[in-house]
Each structure stands twice: as structure tokens, then as C-alpha cells.
Symmetry: C2
Subunit: 292 residues, 2 copies
């Protein structure tokens, strides 16, 4: 299955980059190919200073070797030998009215076990209900097409729980789906392919609706403050980021997920009853958006 | 000893804030008093948008209660009851020619054990040899005045090792001193008092020499990129930050250490043979600066 997954993921990277370039209309992805000393490598593709996308990365990697023994024990399978391949993307638009998005689809083998993991989640600063509902409905439909292996309700709840900043008691965004250790059957591979190819449909209609809206300097300021939360989550909690940094992953590929310009203010609080206050008080509380 | 340490630290916070306000000449510290649900509280003092200091905090705290049992086992002493009091400061100047500085002096008790910890370290973007040497000499002199309890060579080496970003293979700054688990004898308290009161002398002469120098937009840009490294260190490695965030510390007081405006670029590399390239290639390599 490994070779078929790799073929699919490389094509996925091509299709997503192409769709994002079309939506941007100005900037193109640059590609850096890299090799991992312990085995394998990847194709990092980064877009910067576009008309729509301020910074984004769509990375493919295929690595193999030995897990650190202590880490290996925490995973399904036996021994230390592993393979891992995946596509991981984070897109930070320039406009505070266009949401940031993250998605990841990966396949791992460890001893006799193999599994898929991944998902997608949306992080708006100024959410529009239509967008949030569209994003969730896209993922729900993908799950429903593969109901024997994809439990939407569980994947939605797991996403809300994973992308959560405990020290802020605050969700990172409005959620999506998250799954891990999904036994690598053919049926699960079919789901992963279908879901991964739903990414473009989940996100680009939102970009098209919002990319030309005029925004204010105050909204841009608020976006830069909110991006600080994104950094806090990725550096303090995100398992993939921390595992990569602590096991000699390619730092620049891992940290391409960090937003381009960020502000950290002491004790910033939005004005009461503002759209900015509504973000944390209303939008970042988990709801069954697909049913709205 | 606890009460005498608290008295000293509160006075220290006053003296340092007053000296920093004089150096800034425009902004004043604002104070937030807070109470910790588990016991104790603190006085957070923050300066922002000054003539010299873009963002800075000088925090006093005095907390007590029970450590999480697993954490308690990793420390000297028995049981879970603890007290901790300290002053912690981070100052981010506006000018890229004025270095960022961090210092911390703390006193802990746990069961039958009590100890001091702390230190100070400097993080310039555009170092001047005179400044780096002055900073290190100040700390070496403080240690030498208390040679029976303060081993400068060890504290200097421990600082270089602690403030290190493994995933970058890069020091955070040019170092200083770092000590921990220093048994709380009267002689050690005398050292801590002397060292803590040397902070103003270690840093403000550097500020005075550099605060009026003209800098370029390119230098400011480089500072914003370098500040990204400061965030990476504090959120991925700093024990105090992670302990605070994961044990219901006051998030805004802990994260006041993050720089005000930060840029994360993909794979940024300074021009060869530039002052920017010299930062990592020359200045961030540990040296015995006090002997230069």
C-alpha cells in the first residue's frame, strides 16, 4: 500500500498547490527538495507575499528509519522501524477576513501495524456563518460517503479536543475533523483519498467569497494578535511539530506553519460586544456547525 | 528566610522598574496585582510603547500550595507542599541596536529543602563587543565577590547550555549566568541579593550607549525575524514557561516574555559576510567574554 499512498499524496500536493495558485492569481509556490539524514526526504512547497496568501506551505514527505525506542513504545506496532509519508499544509492569508487553514493526511507503518491519520481545521479571525457551515458540511459529506470507516461525529469531536489551548481555555479555531491510528484497510485508504481531495472544495469557495472584501487596519491588527495564539498552539501543544523539532526533522519545513507577522500584547482584550469579542465568546465554542 | 527574601524581591522590583523608567524617559510601568487560586499571587508590571522599550515586564510573584505529585518527585525535598517567590523580567527594546535582556531570581522551598535559582542573559541582534564584555564582566564581578558560593565559570557554562535551541543548533543569545538548586544558606542569599542588584548595572549602560543610535528598516526587519527565535525558545524549551502554562499559572504574566512584533519567514538566510550573518556565525558561539 505504501507506494500507492505515496503516488496519491504527491498528486494531492500538485493538485492543491495548483488550485491555491489559481486562487491567489499572483504568487507561485517555490519548491525545496530535501533529504533526511536518517532516511527519506520531502518536497517542501512554500508560497509567500501573494495577492491573497501572505505565507503558506504544502509539504510532502516520505521518511523512514528507526523511532527513538521510548517513542516507539507509545505507538501501535513493535520494534523501532517505521515509515511515514504525508502531506501537511498551512495557509495564512493576508486579509483578516479570509481564514487560516490547516490540513494533514499521513500514512505510517511500524512493525506489523499500519495506519492513517489526518484531518483539516479552520481558524478564522472574523468568521462568517456561511463559511463555517460550508467547511464543516464538506467534511461531513466526505465522512458520510465512507460511513463504514469514518465516524464524522467522533472525528469532529476529536478535532475540537485536539486543537485546544489549555492555558487559554480557548479553541484554536472553529474545528473540522481529526483522526489518528485508523487501521490502514483499503476502505480507509478510499476515505483518505476522498477526504484529502475534498480539501480544495472545503476551503477555496471561502477564499473566493472573502478575498476581495475591504478590511481595516484594526482588523489586520486583531489578526496579528490572534496569530499569536496559532504560534502558542503549534509550539506548546502540536504533537507533530514537537516530535519533528525534537527528532532532527527539517526545522524550516516544520516551522513553515508559523504565521508571517505576529503581535504579542500584554493582556489584550477586545472591546465588549465587538466582532473581535464575539470570536472567542461565540465562534470558538464547539457547535455542530454542519447542522446549522 | 522566606519573609526576608520576599522583602528583598519586592524592593528589587521597585528599583529595577524605576531605573528602567528613567532610561526610557517616556513610558511608565502599569501594575496588575493578581491572586492564584491555589495560593499566593503577584504583582505584574508591564511597560509598553516607550521611547526605548517596546515591551517589557518585571514580575514579582509569591505562590504556595501543592506541586503535582509527579512534578514534586523531580525536585529536591519531599511531599508536595511548596513555596516559590521570585522576580522575573524580560525587556524588548524598540531599537534593534539595543539588546533584549532577561533576568530571574527565585527562592523555593519544598519539604525540608530550600534553594535559590536564577541568572541573567543578553540577546542582541547587532552586538557590540564593548556591551557583551561589560555584561559578562558585571556578572563575573558579582560572582567573584561571593566566590565561596558562586562559581562563575560553571554558572556561565550552564547559561550557554540552557539558552540553546537544539532544533536550530543555535544559542538564544550571548549568555550570562544561570544557576539552580543553590542551597539556601545565608551566604547564598547574600550572593543573590548582590547579583540581583547588579542587574541594573549590567544592562542600563548598554541601553544608554545604544538607545539614540539611528537604525535602518532592514535592521528592524532582522530584529523581528530574530525575535521569532526568542518565541521558539520560550515556548518549546523554557522550563519556567512550560511549567507555568501547564499548571494554571497566570498566562498573561508568563507570556509577557514574548516579543511585541515578530516575523516568521520560511528559510530566511542573511547575506554572506553581513553583520546579520555574523550574529549566528560569530557572536552566538560561546566565548569567555569577560576575558576579552
Amino acid at each position: 500500500m505504501h507506494a500507492r499512498v505515496v503516488d496519491f499524496l504527491k498528486g494531492l500536493q500538485d493538485r492543491i498547490c495548483s488550485a491555491l495558485e489559481d486562487a491567489d492569481g499572483a504568487a507561485r509556490f517555490r519548491e525545496d527538495s530535501w533529504h533526511r539524514p536518517g532516511g527519506g526526504g520531502g518536497r517542501t512547497r512554500v508560497i509567500a507575499d501573494g495577492a491573497v496568501f501572505e505565507k503558506g506551505g504544502v509539504n510532502f514527505s516520505e521518511v523512514f528509519g528507526d523511532f527513538p525506542p521510548e517513542f516507539a513504545k507509545t505507538l501501535p506496532g513493535e520494534g523501532t522501524k517505521f515509515t511515514a509519508t504525508g502531506v501537511s499544509l498551512v495557509i495564512h492569508p493576508k486579509s483578516p477576513l479570509v481564514p487560516t487553514v490547516h490540513a494533514n493526511f499521513r500514512y505510517l507503518t511500524h512493525g506489523s501495524k499500519s495506519w492513517f491519520g489526518g484531518g483539516a481545521d479552520l481558524t478564522p479571525c472574523y468568521p462568517f456563518e456561511e463559511d463555517v457551515v460550508h467547511f464543516h458540511k464538506t467534511w461531513k459529506r466526505a465522512c458520510t460517503r465512507h460511513a463504514a470507516v469514518a465516524d464524522y461525529a467522533k472525528m469532529k469531536k476529536d478535532c475540537d479536543e485536539y486543537f485546544f489551548l489549555k492555558h487559554r481555555n480557548e479553541a484554536r479555531g472553529v474545528g473540522g475533523i481529526f483522526f489518528d491510528y485508523a487501521v490502514a484497510t483499503e476502505a480507509m485508504f478510499e476515505f483518505v483519498k476522498d477526504a484529502a481531495d475534498a480539501f480544495v472544495e472545503s476551503y477555496l469557495p471561502i477564499v473566493e467569497r472573502r478575498k476581495s472584501l475591504v478590511y481595516t487596519a484594526e482588523q489586520r491588527f486583531f489578526q496579528e494578535v490572534r496569530r499569536g495564539r496559532y504560534v502558542e498552539f503549534n509550539l506548546v501543544y502540536d504533537r507533530g511539530t514537537l516530535f519533528g523539532l525534537k527528532t532532527d526533522g527539517r526545522t524550516e519545513s516544520i516551522l513553515m506553519s508559523l504565521p508571517p507577522v505576529v503581535r504579542y500584547l500584554y493582556d489584550f482584550k477586545p472591546k465588549p460586544d465587538s466582532r473581535e469579542a464575539a470570536l472567542t465568546e461565540y465562534w470558538l465554542k464547539p457547535r455542530d456547525w454542519a447542522e446549522e
